[in-house]
């Protein structure tokens, strides 16, 4: 299963690098225009690290991703994604993956981001993509959906959450300086979070 996890992170890295310009454009509108640059620098390094090492345990692999992001991304995204993945490394299963594991992974990521960023849902941040995604997993579990379908729902919820940031007014991070003027723009952090969730789902379900 470690190979599979490695493939997922290699794919996430490609997607983030491909979207460098898009994320930077979104950030220029309401932030300081470096989200794509910073994220793609970090994930380039993740790719380098993962392709030059072998990992026996998923937890070690995810921890490497976390530490690499913490030491290369900078800005707010580095500590936020780094702490999220560091938390994920503590709960990621080594064997079978099921919906309970998916929920636990999602919740641990949210806890990490909230610990660092002290944000709540609705403040125009990455949490606005991640929290609805994890909430949808919990609902799918209630409905006894198949894992594959639950993940598709999760991806949809992340996308809707990302789009829902457009009318929001930012109260955290650099976008908050804009006040009312932050409305009408999609949040770059929510966008990178959606891209990560989408890639994970597409890789697992392919």
């Amino acid at each position: 299963m470690t190979e599979k996890i490695k493939d997922i992170f290699m794919k996430i890295s490609d997607v983030i690098i491909e979207n460098k310009k898009y994320l930077t454009e979104l950030d220029s509108a309401i932030g300081d225009g470096d989200h794509g640059i910073n994220m793609s620098r970090g994930f380039k390094k993740v790719k380098e690290k993962l392709s030059s090492n072998d990992y026996e345990k998923n937890s070690d692999l995810v921890k490497t991703v976390a530490m690499t992001l913490i030491s290369t991304v900078g800005g707010a995204a580095g500590p936020l994604y780094g702490t999220a993945f560091l938390n994920v490394s503590k709960v990621i299963p080594e064997a079978e993956f099921d919906i309970d594991a998916a929920i636990e992974i999602g919740e641990s990521a949210i806890n990490g981001i909230q610990k660092r960023g002290k944000a709540e849902q609705g403040e125009k941040t990455m949490l606005d993509a991640i929290m609805p995604a994890v909430e949808s997993l919990r609902e799918s579990k209630e409905k006894n959906l198949e894992l594959k379908d639950a993940l598709e729902e999760c991806k949809k919820a992340a996308e809707e959450g990302m789009k829902a940031t457009i009318p929001m007014q930012a109260t955290k991070g650099r976008a908050s300086y804009l006040g009312e003027r932050s409305k009408g723009h999609q949040d770059p952090g929510a966008t990178s979070s959606y891209l990560i969730i989408k890639t994970i789902v597409d890789e697992i379900n392919k």
Partner: protein
């Protein structure tokens, strides 16, 4: 503004840091593998001061590493907070057993990265504390924002906390001195032309030929008002007016006045602004105890300036006058 004097946009920070230490090789050095500038004689038997942040604000912060000011400065990528491992290396390099004070500008990323570094240092038994500088009056300080940004007033925190540490102050005393500056320093900036991050294709914001932005941040964050270009005196009236209405001044108060260029402003224009600032302060009966005009906290090639006032008392005056080998702050 597509042209830049760089070799490779990915290498601007490391090449700059190497150049900075080459200018004062007897005083400062770069840590291997990190964009960290430290005093060559560190660690010393005193409280150590570490600051830093995104690059692009030179001479902040590496230009203030020296006697009577900072012990180390951590340079992040352009306009991007440095990472916790780099800050941690800086802390370890300068800790002389008396504790380390981190001087952080109020940005979400800087605070997170410096806090993570402080956690790492404390886990190794190093005593670390931090202060957050938030002098930009252009931002409404409320529960609904991240709070005011740290801008040019940070340089006064470096100077005064640095002097307190050099005089043998304990960590808590150095922190108190820094907090006294933070409580009494206010800044507002403006821009005529934007800047461009070397690795980006476009400017970080756009201004029409006949427009300027009042209350701009040092990363081009939008300010309070976008207006037609005004005369220098009118611009100073606005900036200094906001600063003066944010903190109570009375006849006879003494201040340090800093007129700071954003990177692309001729000194001629800064002096024109400085002249007006003196006129306004004189009218109000406020005495300029010390005046700084030049580039202290820049924003790449942004054209514009900021005006900072630090309200002084006896202690702050003494610390401001204390010796340093940093020419800009003598």
């Amino acid at each position: 503004m597509k042209k830049k004097l760089v070799n490779n946009p990915d290498h601007v920070v490391v090449e700059m840091v190497e150049g900075i230490v080459m200018e004062r090789p007897e005083k400062i050095e770069k840590l291997d593998d990190f964009n960290v500038v430290v005093r060559k004689d560190a660690p010393l038997e005193k409280v150590a001061l570490v600051s830093g942040g995104g690059s692009g604000h030179e001479p902040s912060h590496a230009g203030y590493v020296g006697e009577g000011m900072l012990d180390a400065a951590v340079a992040g990528d352009v306009f991007t907070s440095p990472t916790p491992d780099a800050v941690f290396e800086a802390i370890k390099a300068v800790d002389g057993g008396q504790g380390v004070l981190l001087i952080v500008k109020n940005y979400t990323g800087d605070i997170m990265n410096f806090e993570m570094a402080a956690d790492m240092a404390e886990a190794e038994g190093i005593e670390v504390d931090h202060v957050v500088v938030n002098d930009d009056v252009a931002v409404e300080d409320s529960l609904y924002t991240t709070g005011r940004r740290g801008v040019a007033g940070t340089v006064f925190v470096h100077k005064i906390a640095g002097a307190k540490a050099a005089a043998g102050g304990k960590l808590s005393e150095v922190k108190s001195a820094a907090e006294k500056v933070i409580a009494n320093v206010r800044t507002k900036g403006m821009a005529l032309y934007p800047c461009r991050v070397p690795s980006a294709d476009e400017s970080t914001f756009k201004l029409e030929e006949d427009e300027m932005e009042l209350g701009i941040g040092i990363h081009g964050e939008p300010g309070t008002e976008r207006t037609k270009v005004k005369k220098a005196d009118e611009v100073v009236d606005d900036l200094l007016g906001s600063v003066l209405s944010d903190i109570s001044f009375k006849n006879g108060d003494e201040v340090a006045l800093m007129v700071n260029g954003m990177g692309g402003t001729p000194l001629m224009e800064l002096y024109i602004a400085n002249r007006r600032a003196h006129q306004i302060l004189e009218d109000k009966g406020i005495k300029v105890y010390k005046n700084f005009v030049g580039e202290f906290m820049t924003s790449l090639e942004m054209a514009g300036m900021s005006i900072t006032l630090l309200k002084l008392d006896k202690e702050l005056k003494e610390l401001l006058d204390a010796p340093t080998d940093i020419n800009l702050m003598k």
